[in-house]
C-alpha cells in the first residue's frame, strides 16, 4: 500500500455544503459564459443556448449571480441545505 493513488477520485459531493443555489432565469441569459468563466468549481456547463449547473458540486458561493451582467442568475435559499427542494436528505 503506497500513498500514490490514481486521480481524480471523488467520494463526496460538495454540493451538500450549499445553503443557497443559483437559479437561472433562462429568458435573461444570452450565453455570454461569464458565469462559466468565474465559477471556482467549474460546475457550470456550457450548453447550446444556455448554461446548466452541476448542483452535486455547486457550493452556492454566489459568484455567478454576482458577476452575471444580465442578472440572469438568482441565489435562492435551500430549503434543505444542498438538497433538492422538498427532499428530506442531502
Amino acid at each position: 500500500m503506497i500513498p500514490n493513488l490514481p486521480t481524480p477520485h471523488l467520494k463526496f459531493r460538495t454540493g451538500s455544503w450549499r445553503t443557497a443555489r443559483p437559479v437561472l432565469q433562462a429568458g435573461r441569459c444570452n450565453n455570454c459564459l461569464i458565469c462559466w468563466l468565474f465559477c471556482p468549481e467549474g460546475c457550470i456547463q456550457r450548453e447550446k443556448g444556455y448554461i446548466t449547473i452541476d448542483l452535486d458540486y455547486c457550493k452556492g458561493c454566489g459568484i455567478c449571480a454576482h458577476e452575471c451582467p444580465r442578472q440572469a442568475l438568482k441565489l435562492v435559499e435551500e430549503v434543505v441545505p444542498g438538497g433538492e427542494e422538498g427532499e428530506t436528505s442531502a
Binding site: 500500500m1 503506497i2 500513498p3 500514490n4 493513488l5 490514481p6 486521480t7 481524480p8
Partner: protein, 386 residues
C-alpha cells in the same frame, strides 16, 4: 580493475556503474569529493546523467524525489548538518516509497562545530523510514551502493537506502578497491523499472493527504516493507556474491563469536580495529568476539539473538549519544536480547565522538573490563568507562 581510491571515490564509481540518471547534491565536508567526482565523470562523458546543482541539501533530496517520481534512478550524498537539513524530506521520500539511494559520510553534529566522524547524524535519522547500511571499507561502500539500488527498487521493499561510511576514516582514506566492469554490474543491476511514474496519460497523486482512518495503514505498509527488506538485503548480498565473489553477511557481520564470553558490537569502520584486538586477545586465550551491525534499519534483532545467545557480556561501542539515556545502539541491542532465555548483560561504551581516535588500547580496555566483571557488575563498568 583494481585501483587505489578512497571511500568517496568508491561511492562515485558505484554511481557511475549503477547508471544513475539524475544526481542532485550539495557539497559538505567530508562528502564533497563524491559529488566532485560525479560531476567530473559527467564532464568526461563517462556518466550520462543530469547533475542538478541545487542550492541546499533540502533541495537536493527534494529534486531527487521529483526526478524519481518521473522514473529516474537517482542519487544524492550528504553528511552531518546537511543530513539534518534534509530531515523532513527523509520522511517524505520514504513515505512516498521512492527508491532514492544516498551516501552519508558520517560526521558529528554541531555544536561544538566539528567536521570529523561520528554516527550522530545518521543515527538521529533512524526513525525516518530509510534503510540504513553501515560499511567498513571503501570496497564495501562501492559494493553496498550497488546493492542498495537492488534493495531500494525491489517491489517488495520500495524504500530508500542510506549507505553510511565514516567520515575521513573511510571517505578520505585510500585503499585498494576492485572496480567491477560495467557489463558485470549491468547483469546484476538492470535498469530501474518504476511501478508508477508521473504521466499525464495516467494521472496519479504522489503522496496523498491521509486522515486518521487511513494514515496508519500506509505506515503499517511501510513497516511491513521494512520487515521484508531484511530478507531482501540478505538475498541481494548472496546474489552479489555469486556475480562478484564478494559478500558482507547481509545484516550482521560476526567475527570469532563462536564460544565467546564477551562480544563487542559496533558499526562501521571501527570494526577493523576491533578485529585486530579480538585476534590478539584470542591468542592470549581470551574468549572474545565482535559483531558489526551492517544494517541498523531494518534492525536485525533475530540475527543478534542467534549470534549472541550464550554470550556472558555484550559490550556495545556507540559513536553517538542519545542524550538523557545512552548510546542508541546499546538501547537497541538490549531490547533485542530481552527475548533470550538467559540474556547476556549489556554494557554500553560511547567513544569516538567528533572524530576522537578509537585506539586498539581503548577496545582492549573494554574487553578486559567486561571479562573481569561479573555479569551483575557490568553496568558499573560501562559507567566508569564513559
Amino acid at each position: 580493475m583494481r585501483e587505489y581510491i578512497n571511500g568517496n571515490e568508491a561511492v562515485a564509481q558505484a554511481v557511475r556503474l549503477a547508471r544513475v540518471e539524475v544526481v542532485a547534491a550539495y557539497p559538505i565536508t567530508p562528502q564533497s569529493p563524491v559529488v566532485e567526482e560525479i560531476a567530473a565523470q559527467i564532464a568526461r562523458g563517462e556518466l550520462d546523467a543530469e547533475y542538478i546543482r541545487v542550492e541546499s541539501e533540502h533541495a537536493a533530496l527534494t529534486a531527487c524525489y521529483g526526478a524519481a517520481v518521473t522514473g529516474m534512478r537517482v542519487f544524492t550524498a550528504t553528511s552531518s548538518q546537511g543530513l539534518a537539513y534534509m530531515f523532513e524530506m527523509l520522511h517524505y521520500v520514504s513515505g512516498s516509497r521512492v527508491p532514492v539511494v544516498m551516501a552519508v559520510a558520517n560526521r558529528g553534529l554541531a555544536a561544538p562545530w566539528t567536521i570529523w566522524a561520528d554516527h550522530q547524524d545518521s543515527i538521529a535519522c533512524r526513525d525516518t523510514g530509510w534503510i540504513q547500511l553501515y560499511v567498513e571499507t571503501a570496497q564495501e561502500a562501492l559494493d553496498t551502493c550497488l546493492q542498495a539500488y537492488r534493495i531500494a527498487e525491489c517491489p517488495e521493499v520500495l524504500t530508500p537506502v542510506m549507505v553510511c561510511l565514516d567520515g575521513y576514516v573511510l571517505s578520505h582514506t585510500e585503499e585498494i578497491v576492485e572496480i567491477p566492469a560495467q557489463e558485470v554490474v549491468d547483469a546484476f543491476l538492470p535498469p530501474y523499472k518504476p511501478r508508477e511514474v508521473v504521466e499525464p496519460e495516467r494521472p496519479l497523486v504522489f503522496g496523498v493527504g491521509a486522515g486518521p482512518d487511513i494514515y496508519p495503514a500506509f505506515k503499517q505498509a511501510q513497516q511491513a516493507a521494512m520487515d521484508r527488506a531484511r530478507d531482501v538485503i540478505c538475498r541481494v548480498d548472496e546474489e552479489f556474491y555469486r556475480i562478484f565473489g564478494r559478500r558482507y553477511g547481509g545484516l550482521v557481520v560476526p567475527y570469532r563469536c563462536q564460544g565467546a564470553e564477551v562480544v563487542l558490537v559496533t558499526l562501521g569502520a571501527t570494526m577493523g580495529t576491533v578485529r585486530e584486538v579480538v585476534d590478539r586477545l584470542r591468542q592470549e586465550g581470551r574468549r572474545v568476539g565482535a559483531l558489526r551491525l551492517r544494517a541498523l534499519r531494518p534492525f536485525p534483532a533475530e540475527e543478534l539473538r542467534r549470534v549472541l545467545a550464550g554470550t556472558r557480556v555484550v559490550a556495545v561501542l556507540d559513536r553517538n549519544c542519545s542524550f538523557g539515556y545512552e548510546g542508541a545502539v546499546c538501547t537497541e541491542v538490549k531490547a533485542a536480547l530481552l527475548g533470550l532465555e538467559k540474556p547476556p548483560a549489556v554494557a554500553g561504551f560511547i567513544l569516538g565522538l567528533g572524530g576522537q581516535d578509537i585506539r586498539q588500547a581503548d577496545i582492549e580496555d573494554i574487553f578486559r573490563r567486561c571479562l573481569a566483571a561479573s555479569s551483575g557488575a557490568v553496568h558499573q563498568v560501562a559507567a566508569a568507562q564513559s
